[in-house]
Protein backbone atom coordinates (compact mmCIF):
# COMPACT_ATOMS: atom_id res chain seq x y z
CA UNK A 1 0.00 0.00 0.00
CA UNK A 2 1.21 3.46 -0.88
CA UNK A 3 0.47 6.45 1.31
CA UNK A 4 0.09 9.77 -0.51
CA UNK A 5 0.33 13.14 1.15
CA UNK A 6 -2.75 15.31 0.57
CA UNK A 7 -0.85 17.54 -1.86
CA UNK A 8 0.53 14.51 -3.71
CA UNK A 9 -2.94 13.04 -3.97
CA UNK A 10 -4.45 16.28 -5.27
CA UNK A 11 -1.66 16.66 -7.82
CA UNK A 12 -2.22 13.09 -8.96
CA UNK A 13 -5.95 13.68 -9.26
CA UNK A 14 -5.39 16.93 -11.20
CA UNK A 15 -2.93 15.22 -13.55
CA UNK A 16 -5.42 12.43 -14.13
CA UNK A 17 -8.15 14.96 -14.85
CA UNK A 18 -5.93 16.87 -17.29
CA UNK A 19 -4.95 13.66 -19.12
CA UNK A 20 -8.51 12.53 -19.40
CA UNK A 21 -10.06 15.86 -20.42
CA UNK A 22 -9.43 16.85 -24.06
CA UNK A 23 -9.89 20.62 -24.04
CA UNK A 24 -10.13 20.99 -27.80
CA UNK A 25 -12.84 18.34 -28.07
CA UNK A 26 -14.89 18.59 -24.86
CA UNK A 27 -17.26 21.24 -23.60
CA UNK A 28 -19.84 21.22 -20.80
CA UNK A 29 -23.32 22.56 -21.31
CA UNK A 30 -25.67 23.71 -18.58
CA UNK A 31 -27.78 26.46 -17.08
CA UNK A 32 -26.08 29.29 -15.20
CA UNK A 33 -26.83 29.69 -11.54
CA UNK A 34 -25.44 31.77 -8.70
CA UNK A 35 -23.46 34.06 -11.04
CA UNK A 36 -21.29 36.65 -9.29
CA UNK A 37 -18.19 38.74 -9.95
CA UNK A 38 -15.86 39.54 -7.06
CA UNK A 39 -13.69 42.67 -7.03
CA UNK A 40 -14.22 43.00 -10.76
CA UNK A 41 -11.56 40.31 -11.26
CA UNK A 42 -12.96 36.86 -10.52
CA UNK A 43 -16.12 35.31 -11.80
CA UNK A 44 -17.83 32.52 -9.88
CA UNK A 45 -20.91 30.66 -10.97
CA UNK A 46 -22.24 27.17 -11.38
CA UNK A 47 -23.90 25.37 -14.23
CA UNK A 48 -26.54 22.81 -13.58
CA UNK A 49 -28.96 20.44 -15.17
CA UNK A 50 -31.84 18.49 -13.67
CA UNK A 51 -29.61 16.33 -11.50
CA UNK A 52 -26.20 17.91 -11.14
CA UNK A 53 -24.29 21.09 -10.33
CA UNK A 54 -20.80 22.07 -11.50
CA UNK A 55 -18.99 24.98 -9.77
CA UNK A 56 -17.10 27.18 -12.24
CA UNK A 57 -14.34 29.72 -11.91
CA UNK A 58 -13.17 32.25 -14.48
CA UNK A 59 -11.03 35.39 -14.64
CA UNK A 60 -13.18 38.41 -15.51
CA UNK A 61 -11.16 39.67 -18.50
CA UNK A 62 -11.83 36.42 -20.36
CA UNK A 63 -15.56 36.86 -20.14
CA UNK A 64 -16.89 38.80 -23.12
CA UNK A 65 -20.56 37.95 -22.73
CA UNK A 66 -22.99 39.30 -20.16
CA UNK A 67 -24.02 36.21 -18.29
CA UNK A 68 -27.09 35.96 -16.14
CA UNK A 69 -28.61 33.22 -14.05
CA UNK A 70 -30.90 31.02 -16.07
CA UNK A 71 -28.94 31.32 -19.32
CA UNK A 72 -27.91 28.15 -21.06
CA UNK A 73 -24.20 28.16 -21.79
CA UNK A 74 -21.40 26.00 -23.10
CA UNK A 75 -18.08 26.26 -21.29
CA UNK A 76 -14.60 25.60 -22.63
CA UNK A 77 -11.75 24.93 -20.19
CA UNK A 78 -10.64 22.18 -17.80
CA UNK A 79 -11.68 20.63 -14.47
CA UNK A 80 -9.46 21.03 -11.47
CA UNK A 81 -9.33 20.59 -7.71
CA UNK A 82 -8.09 23.74 -6.04
CA UNK A 83 -5.48 22.28 -3.64
CA UNK A 84 -5.70 24.88 -0.91
CA UNK A 85 -9.40 24.30 -0.17
CA UNK A 86 -9.87 20.98 -1.86
CA UNK A 87 -12.66 22.42 -3.92
CA UNK A 88 -13.49 20.93 -7.27
CA UNK A 89 -14.34 23.42 -9.95
CA UNK A 90 -14.28 23.93 -13.70
CA UNK A 91 -11.72 26.49 -14.84
CA UNK A 92 -13.50 28.32 -17.65
CA UNK A 93 -11.49 29.74 -20.57
CA UNK A 94 -14.36 30.82 -22.81
CA UNK A 95 -18.11 30.92 -22.60
CA UNK A 96 -20.49 30.38 -25.48
CA UNK A 97 -24.21 30.99 -25.38
CA UNK A 98 -26.53 28.23 -26.44
CA UNK A 99 -30.03 28.88 -27.67
CA UNK A 100 -31.23 31.93 -29.59
CA UNK A 101 -33.31 33.27 -26.69
CA UNK A 102 -30.33 33.41 -24.38
CA UNK A 103 -28.13 34.88 -27.09
CA UNK A 104 -30.59 37.68 -27.61
CA UNK A 105 -30.95 38.27 -23.91
CA UNK A 106 -27.17 38.48 -23.50
CA UNK A 107 -26.90 40.75 -26.48
CA UNK A 108 -29.53 43.07 -25.06
CA UNK A 109 -27.66 43.32 -21.79
CA UNK A 110 -24.35 44.03 -23.49
CA UNK A 111 -25.96 46.59 -25.79
CA UNK A 112 -27.40 48.40 -22.77
CA UNK A 113 -24.04 48.42 -21.03
CA UNK A 114 -22.15 49.78 -24.05
CA UNK A 115 -24.90 52.28 -24.71
CA UNK A 116 -24.39 53.67 -21.21
CA UNK A 117 -20.72 54.09 -22.01
CA UNK A 118 -21.65 56.15 -25.07
CA UNK A 119 -20.43 53.64 -27.64
CA UNK A 120 -23.29 54.28 -30.04
CA UNK A 121 -23.59 58.05 -29.68
CA UNK A 122 -24.26 59.62 -33.08
CA UNK A 123 -21.96 62.56 -32.31
CA UNK A 124 -18.90 60.34 -32.19
CA UNK A 125 -19.49 58.99 -35.69
CA UNK A 126 -16.81 60.00 -38.16
CA UNK A 127 -17.24 60.38 -41.90
CA UNK A 128 -15.33 58.28 -44.36
CA UNK A 129 -13.11 60.20 -46.80
CA UNK A 130 -14.76 60.67 -50.19
CA UNK A 131 -11.79 59.26 -52.08
CA UNK A 132 -9.97 56.73 -49.89
CA UNK A 133 -6.49 55.94 -51.17
CA UNK A 134 -5.45 53.12 -48.87
CA UNK A 135 -7.78 50.96 -46.78
CA UNK A 136 -7.69 47.97 -44.45
CA UNK A 137 -10.21 45.24 -45.25
CA UNK A 138 -10.84 42.78 -42.44
CA UNK A 139 -12.64 39.70 -43.75
CA UNK A 140 -12.17 36.07 -44.49
CA UNK A 141 -10.36 36.18 -47.82
CA UNK A 142 -11.88 32.78 -48.57
CA UNK A 143 -15.45 34.04 -48.22
CA UNK A 144 -17.99 35.08 -50.81
CA UNK A 145 -18.23 38.38 -48.92
CA UNK A 146 -14.59 39.13 -49.74
CA UNK A 147 -15.12 38.26 -53.40
CA UNK A 148 -18.23 40.44 -53.62
CA UNK A 149 -16.52 43.38 -51.96
CA UNK A 150 -13.46 43.26 -54.25
CA UNK A 151 -15.62 42.79 -57.36
CA UNK A 152 -17.74 45.86 -56.60
CA UNK A 153 -14.66 47.96 -55.76
CA UNK A 154 -13.08 46.98 -59.09
CA UNK A 155 -16.30 47.80 -60.93
CA UNK A 156 -16.64 51.19 -59.34
CA UNK A 157 -13.20 52.63 -58.69
CA UNK A 158 -9.54 52.81 -59.73
CA UNK A 159 -6.28 53.44 -57.95
CA UNK A 160 -7.17 52.25 -54.44
CA UNK A 161 -4.88 50.12 -52.32
CA UNK A 162 -6.59 47.43 -50.26
CA UNK A 163 -4.73 45.55 -47.54
CA UNK A 164 -6.93 42.52 -46.89
CA UNK A 165 -6.40 41.12 -43.39
CA UNK A 166 -7.52 37.50 -43.47
CA UNK A 167 -9.46 36.63 -40.31
CA UNK A 168 -11.79 33.99 -38.93
CA UNK A 169 -15.34 35.33 -39.01
CA UNK A 170 -17.12 32.56 -37.14
CA UNK A 171 -16.62 30.50 -34.01
CA UNK A 172 -14.88 30.92 -30.71
CA UNK A 173 -11.57 32.10 -32.15
CA UNK A 174 -13.11 34.64 -34.52
CA UNK A 175 -13.26 37.63 -32.10
CA UNK A 176 -9.59 37.32 -31.17
CA UNK A 177 -8.59 36.93 -34.81
CA UNK A 178 -10.56 40.05 -35.79
CA UNK A 179 -9.34 42.09 -32.79
CA UNK A 180 -5.74 41.28 -33.71
CA UNK A 181 -6.34 42.46 -37.27
CA UNK A 182 -7.97 45.70 -36.05
CA UNK A 183 -5.00 46.33 -33.77
CA UNK A 184 -2.47 45.51 -36.50
CA UNK A 185 -4.23 47.90 -38.91
CA UNK A 186 -3.86 50.79 -36.46
CA UNK A 187 -0.12 50.87 -37.21
CA UNK A 188 -0.71 51.95 -40.81
CA UNK A 189 -2.16 55.22 -42.05
CA UNK A 190 -5.30 53.80 -43.61
CA UNK A 191 -8.12 56.07 -44.75
CA UNK A 192 -10.73 53.54 -43.64
CA UNK A 193 -11.06 50.20 -41.88
CA UNK A 194 -13.68 47.83 -43.27
CA UNK A 195 -15.01 44.78 -41.44
CA UNK A 196 -17.37 42.59 -43.39
CA UNK A 197 -18.85 39.13 -43.71
CA UNK A 198 -21.83 37.54 -45.34
CA UNK A 199 -25.09 36.61 -43.68
CA UNK A 200 -25.68 33.97 -41.04
CA UNK A 201 -27.72 33.04 -38.01
CA UNK A 202 -27.44 35.00 -34.79
CA UNK A 203 -25.23 32.27 -33.39
CA UNK A 204 -22.94 32.35 -36.42
CA UNK A 205 -22.65 36.09 -36.20
CA UNK A 206 -21.97 36.21 -32.46
CA UNK A 207 -18.32 37.15 -33.06
CA UNK A 208 -19.59 40.55 -34.19
CA UNK A 209 -21.30 41.00 -30.84
CA UNK A 210 -18.17 40.23 -28.87
CA UNK A 211 -17.46 42.93 -26.31
CA UNK A 212 -13.71 42.92 -26.93
CA UNK A 213 -14.25 43.28 -30.68
CA UNK A 214 -16.74 46.11 -30.18
CA UNK A 215 -14.26 47.88 -27.89
CA UNK A 216 -11.46 47.43 -30.45
CA UNK A 217 -13.64 49.00 -33.16
CA UNK A 218 -14.63 51.79 -30.80
CA UNK A 219 -10.97 52.51 -30.11
CA UNK A 220 -9.94 52.51 -33.77
CA UNK A 221 -8.23 55.74 -34.77
CA UNK A 222 -9.12 54.89 -38.37
CA UNK A 223 -12.75 55.54 -39.38
CA UNK A 224 -14.64 52.25 -39.45
CA UNK A 225 -17.12 50.80 -41.94
CA UNK A 226 -18.86 47.58 -40.93
CA UNK A 227 -21.24 45.55 -43.04
CA UNK A 228 -22.59 42.16 -42.01
CA UNK A 229 -25.21 40.50 -44.12
CA UNK A 230 -28.21 39.40 -42.11
CA UNK A 231 -31.93 39.63 -42.09
CA UNK A 232 -32.70 40.74 -38.56
CA UNK A 233 -31.24 42.99 -35.82
CA UNK A 234 -27.91 44.65 -36.40
CA UNK A 235 -24.80 43.43 -34.61
CA UNK A 236 -23.00 45.54 -32.01
CA UNK A 237 -20.01 45.83 -34.36
CA UNK A 238 -22.24 47.55 -36.90
CA UNK A 239 -23.78 49.81 -34.28
CA UNK A 240 -20.40 50.98 -33.01
CA UNK A 241 -19.00 51.53 -36.53
CA UNK A 242 -18.69 55.06 -37.88
CA UNK A 243 -20.56 53.96 -40.99
CA UNK A 244 -22.81 50.94 -41.26
CA UNK A 245 -23.44 48.97 -44.43
CA UNK A 246 -26.04 46.28 -44.92
CA UNK A 247 -23.95 43.77 -46.87
CA UNK A 248 -20.38 43.33 -48.17
CA UNK A 249 -21.53 44.72 -51.52
CA UNK A 250 -23.06 47.73 -49.78
CA UNK A 251 -19.74 48.18 -47.94
CA UNK A 252 -17.92 48.55 -51.25
CA UNK A 253 -20.55 51.02 -52.51
CA UNK A 254 -20.24 53.11 -49.38
CA UNK A 255 -16.46 53.07 -49.50
CA UNK A 256 -15.87 54.33 -53.04
CA UNK A 257 -17.96 56.45 -55.41
CA UNK A 258 -18.81 55.34 -58.91
CA UNK A 259 -16.02 56.47 -61.20
CA UNK A 260 -18.51 57.26 -63.97
CA UNK A 261 -20.15 59.81 -61.66
CA UNK A 262 -16.80 61.29 -60.72
CA UNK A 263 -15.61 61.47 -64.34
CA UNK A 264 -18.83 63.31 -65.16
CA UNK A 265 -18.30 65.65 -62.19
CA UNK A 266 -14.72 66.39 -63.29
CA UNK A 267 -15.91 67.20 -66.83
CA UNK A 268 -18.65 69.44 -65.45
CA UNK A 269 -16.17 71.29 -63.25
CA UNK A 270 -13.78 71.70 -66.15
CA UNK A 271 -16.53 72.96 -68.45
CA UNK A 272 -17.82 75.29 -65.74
CA UNK A 273 -14.36 76.80 -65.25
CA UNK A 274 -13.94 77.30 -69.03
CA UNK A 275 -17.35 79.01 -69.22
CA UNK A 276 -16.58 81.26 -66.30
CA UNK A 277 -13.26 82.25 -67.85
CA UNK A 278 -14.94 82.95 -71.18
CA UNK A 279 -17.57 85.08 -69.44
CA UNK A 280 -14.86 86.99 -67.60
CA UNK A 281 -12.99 87.63 -70.85
CA UNK A 282 -16.18 88.76 -72.62
CA UNK A 283 -16.94 91.09 -69.74
CA UNK A 284 -13.44 92.58 -69.89
CA UNK A 285 -13.78 93.08 -73.63
CA UNK A 286 -17.10 94.83 -73.12
CA UNK A 287 -15.55 97.13 -70.50
CA UNK A 288 -12.65 97.98 -72.82
CA UNK A 289 -14.99 98.68 -75.75
CA UNK A 290 -17.14 100.83 -73.55
CA UNK A 291 -14.13 102.76 -72.26
CA UNK A 292 -12.77 103.26 -75.81
CA UNK A 293 -16.02 104.61 -77.16
CA UNK A 294 -16.34 106.93 -74.18
CA UNK A 295 -12.82 108.26 -74.81
CA UNK A 296 -13.66 108.87 -78.48
CA UNK A 297 -16.85 110.73 -77.55
CA UNK A 298 -14.94 112.85 -75.08
CA UNK A 299 -12.30 113.75 -77.67
CA UNK A 300 -14.93 114.67 -80.26
CA UNK A 301 -16.73 116.85 -77.76
CA UNK A 302 -13.46 118.50 -76.79
CA UNK A 303 -12.54 119.21 -80.40
CA UNK A 304 -15.95 120.74 -81.06
CA UNK A 305 -15.66 122.92 -78.02
CA UNK A 306 -12.20 124.00 -79.10
CA UNK A 307 -13.34 124.98 -82.57
CA UNK A 308 -16.24 126.95 -81.10
CA UNK A 309 -13.80 128.77 -78.87
CA UNK A 310 -11.49 129.56 -81.80
CA UNK A 311 -14.34 131.09 -83.74
CA UNK A 312 -15.41 133.18 -80.80
CA UNK A 313 -11.84 134.33 -80.27
CA UNK A 314 -11.55 135.32 -83.92
CA UNK A 315 -14.76 137.31 -83.70
CA UNK A 316 -13.59 139.07 -80.59
CA UNK A 317 -10.21 139.87 -82.14
CA UNK A 318 -11.83 141.15 -85.28
CA UNK A 319 -14.11 143.38 -83.27
CA UNK A 320 -11.26 144.65 -81.13
CA UNK A 321 -9.15 145.53 -84.15
CA UNK A 322 -12.05 147.33 -85.76
CA UNK A 323 -12.62 149.46 -82.67
CA UNK A 324 -8.93 150.20 -82.47
CA UNK A 325 -8.79 151.20 -86.11
CA UNK A 326 -11.75 153.56 -85.72
CA UNK A 327 -10.15 155.15 -82.72
CA UNK A 328 -6.86 155.68 -84.52
CA UNK A 329 -8.68 157.27 -87.44
CA UNK A 330 -10.54 159.79 -85.27
CA UNK A 331 -7.34 160.58 -83.40
CA UNK A 332 -5.61 161.15 -86.73
CA UNK A 333 -8.35 163.49 -87.78
CA UNK A 334 -8.16 165.33 -84.52
CA UNK A 335 -4.40 165.67 -84.74
CA UNK A 336 -4.71 166.87 -88.35
CA UNK A 337 -6.58 169.93 -87.19
CA UNK A 338 -3.38 171.14 -85.49
CA UNK A 339 -1.21 171.01 -88.66
CA UNK A 340 0.28 174.58 -89.58
CA UNK A 341 -0.05 173.71 -93.27
CA UNK A 342 -3.75 173.42 -92.76
CA UNK A 343 -3.79 177.05 -91.28
CA UNK A 344 -1.53 178.45 -94.07
CA UNK A 345 -4.02 177.18 -96.62
CA UNK A 346 -6.57 179.47 -95.11
CA UNK A 347 -4.27 182.59 -95.89
CA UNK A 348 -2.20 182.82 -92.74
CA UNK A 349 1.65 183.15 -92.68
CA UNK A 350 4.33 182.63 -90.09
CA UNK A 351 7.71 184.29 -89.67
CA UNK A 352 10.90 182.53 -88.86
CA UNK A 353 14.15 184.14 -87.72
CA UNK A 354 17.32 182.26 -86.92
CA UNK A 355 15.48 179.00 -87.13
CA UNK A 356 12.84 180.01 -84.64
CA UNK A 357 9.18 180.87 -85.23
CA UNK A 358 8.49 184.40 -84.07
CA UNK A 359 5.54 185.19 -81.91
CA UNK A 360 6.26 188.86 -80.96
CA UNK A 361 7.34 192.12 -82.80
CA UNK A 362 9.59 192.96 -79.90
CA UNK A 363 12.15 190.49 -80.99
CA UNK A 364 12.52 192.16 -84.37
CA UNK A 365 15.16 194.86 -84.66
CA UNK A 366 15.67 197.05 -87.81
CA UNK A 367 17.54 195.25 -90.54
CA UNK A 368 16.75 191.88 -89.06
CA UNK A 369 16.65 189.08 -91.57
CA UNK A 370 13.48 187.08 -91.51
CA UNK A 371 11.79 184.32 -93.49
CA UNK A 372 8.06 184.53 -94.34
CA UNK A 373 6.27 181.19 -94.80
CA UNK A 374 3.06 181.08 -96.89
CA UNK A 375 0.88 178.22 -98.20
CA UNK A 376 3.07 177.48 -101.17
CA UNK A 377 6.59 178.42 -100.00
CA UNK A 378 8.81 180.91 -98.19
CA UNK A 379 10.55 184.23 -99.00
CA UNK A 380 13.38 186.03 -97.25
CA UNK A 381 12.83 189.70 -96.11
CA UNK A 382 14.47 192.46 -94.12
CA UNK A 383 12.79 194.60 -91.44
CA UNK A 384 12.98 198.28 -92.46
CA UNK A 385 12.51 199.86 -89.13
CA UNK A 386 11.48 199.19 -85.71
Amino acid sequence: MHAFSVTEFLNLANNALRDFWDQSAFVVEGEVTDFRVSRGQWVNFSIKDEEGLLPCFMVAYKLHLPIQDGMKIRIHGYPRIYPKYGKFSFNVETVELVGEGDLQKALKLLRKKLEKEGFFDPERKRELPRFPQKVALIASTESAAYGDFIRIINERWRGIQIDAYHVLVQGQRAPKSIIQAIEAAQKTDYDALILTRGGGSLEELMAFNDEGLVRALHGSRIPTLVGIGHERDTSLAEDVADVRASTPTDCARRLVPDRGDILYEISMREQGIANELQDTLAEKQRIIQNATSQAINWLTALREKQSQSEERLEQLARHWFQTLEDHVESLTRFCGSFDPAFVLKRGYAYIEAHGKILTSVNTLEANAKIKIHLRDGARSATINKK
Binding site: F131, W157, R158, I160, I162, A164, A184, R269, I273, E276
Partner: protein
Protein backbone atom coordinates in the same frame (compact mmCIF):
# COMPACT_ATOMS: atom_id res chain seq x y z
CA UNK B 1 -2.70 41.88 -59.31
CA UNK B 2 -0.37 44.37 -60.95
CA UNK B 3 -0.10 47.90 -59.71
CA UNK B 4 0.23 51.20 -61.46
CA UNK B 5 1.22 53.82 -58.96
CA UNK B 6 -0.98 56.89 -59.08
CA UNK B 7 0.85 60.18 -58.97
CA UNK B 8 -0.08 62.24 -55.94
CA UNK B 9 -3.25 62.10 -53.97
CA UNK B 10 -6.56 61.88 -55.83
CA UNK B 11 -8.51 63.51 -53.00
CA UNK B 12 -6.25 66.57 -52.73
CA UNK B 13 -6.22 67.07 -56.51
CA UNK B 14 -9.99 66.80 -56.68
CA UNK B 15 -10.26 69.31 -53.85
CA UNK B 16 -7.92 71.69 -55.69
CA UNK B 17 -10.11 71.41 -58.80
CA UNK B 18 -13.20 72.15 -56.71
CA UNK B 19 -11.45 75.16 -55.13
CA UNK B 20 -10.57 76.57 -58.56
CA UNK B 21 -14.17 76.12 -59.72
CA UNK B 22 -15.33 77.95 -56.61
CA UNK B 23 -12.82 80.77 -57.24
CA UNK B 24 -14.29 81.27 -60.70
CA UNK B 25 -17.84 81.11 -59.38
CA UNK B 26 -16.99 83.98 -57.04
CA UNK B 27 -16.25 86.03 -60.18
CA UNK B 28 -12.69 87.09 -59.38
CA UNK B 29 -11.75 89.72 -61.98
CA UNK B 30 -8.03 89.05 -62.43
CA UNK B 31 -7.47 87.75 -65.98
CA UNK B 32 -3.83 86.72 -65.47
CA UNK B 33 -4.70 84.73 -62.37
CA UNK B 34 -7.75 83.35 -64.18
CA UNK B 35 -5.67 82.09 -67.07
CA UNK B 36 -3.19 80.42 -64.72
CA UNK B 37 -5.97 78.83 -62.71
CA UNK B 38 -7.69 77.64 -65.87
CA UNK B 39 -4.48 75.98 -67.06
CA UNK B 40 -4.01 74.33 -63.64
CA UNK B 41 -7.63 73.12 -63.65
CA UNK B 42 -7.20 71.56 -67.09
CA UNK B 43 -4.05 69.76 -65.96
CA UNK B 44 -5.76 68.53 -62.77
CA UNK B 45 -8.83 67.30 -64.66
CA UNK B 46 -6.57 65.42 -67.06
CA UNK B 47 -4.61 63.80 -64.23
CA UNK B 48 -7.78 62.81 -62.35
CA UNK B 49 -9.36 61.33 -65.47
CA UNK B 50 -6.18 59.38 -66.20
CA UNK B 51 -6.28 57.85 -62.71
CA UNK B 52 -9.92 56.84 -63.10
CA UNK B 53 -9.38 55.46 -66.59
CA UNK B 54 -5.98 53.84 -66.34
CA UNK B 55 -4.95 53.13 -62.73
CA UNK B 56 -5.49 49.71 -61.22
CA UNK B 57 -6.56 48.66 -57.74
CA UNK B 58 -3.84 47.11 -55.64
CA UNK B 59 -4.92 44.27 -53.39
CA UNK B 60 -2.60 42.66 -50.88
CA UNK B 61 -3.60 39.81 -48.57
CA UNK B 62 -2.16 39.95 -45.06
CA UNK B 63 -2.26 36.79 -42.97
CA UNK B 64 -1.54 36.98 -39.26
CA UNK B 65 1.38 34.87 -38.05
CA UNK B 66 -0.58 33.04 -35.35
CA UNK B 67 -3.54 32.20 -37.55
CA UNK B 68 -5.07 28.66 -37.51
Amino acid sequence: MTTKKTKGDFASKFKELEDIAEWFEKGEPDIDKGMKKFERASALAKELKTVLEEAENKIQIIRSSNEE
